[in-house]
Amino acid sequence: MYVGRVSGTVVATIKHEAFHGRKLLIVDQLDTAGQPTGAYDICVDVVQAGVGDRVLVLDEGNGARQILKRNVAPIRAVIVGIVDEINIGNWVIG
């Protein structure tokens, strides 16, 4: 899992049926200083996140399928939380 920031949206009409009715967001991975690392994922959103939100991303297929309640799905990255605050040592990233 990693912490990221939602930076965009993806719209697709033709897609695998596992994606039907799912919102897709582009999420930048953040480092411990809160800066983008350059890596990103197109994620399925299950927590009603929006552009600008700092989020928790699961990038693993088995957990993704469990959340989406499917035995088979070509989905890896899922936004599973909206982050309020991060503490590293006595350093708070609000």
């Binding site: 949206t9 993806v10 197109i42």
Partner: protein, 90 residues
């Protein structure tokens, strides 16, 4: 799951069982600004509708095979959607 651009096709007559009838395309992975990022890869087209120059999104590793009708096949990248619009801030 990443953005990618279709840049070519692959034709292979002799394939491992289960791969018959699957279209293989060469795709260039892209950054979120749609600039080339990394080396092109061969991806199975799970939409069966992607064509040259199209903006698509791909899934990698074990989940790629799960996009196909037979999910127990040796595939590690698959095209799972054709992108109409990708809006990015900044």
């Amino acid at each position: 799951m990443q953005l990618a651009r279709v840049i070519g096709t692959v034709v292979a007559t002799t394939k491992y069982e289960g791969l018959q009838g699957i279209k293989f395309l060469i795709v260039q992975p892209l950054s979120k600004q749609q600039q080339p990022q990394g080396e092109p890869v061969v991806a199975a087209d799970a939409t069966a509708q992607a064509g040259p120059d199209e903006l698509v999104f791909i899934v990698g590793s074990r989940e790629a095979a799960q996009a196909l009708p037979n999910t127990f096949v040796p595939v590690d990248q698959a095209i799972v959607g054709i992108v109409d619009e990708a809006d990015v801030i900044e």
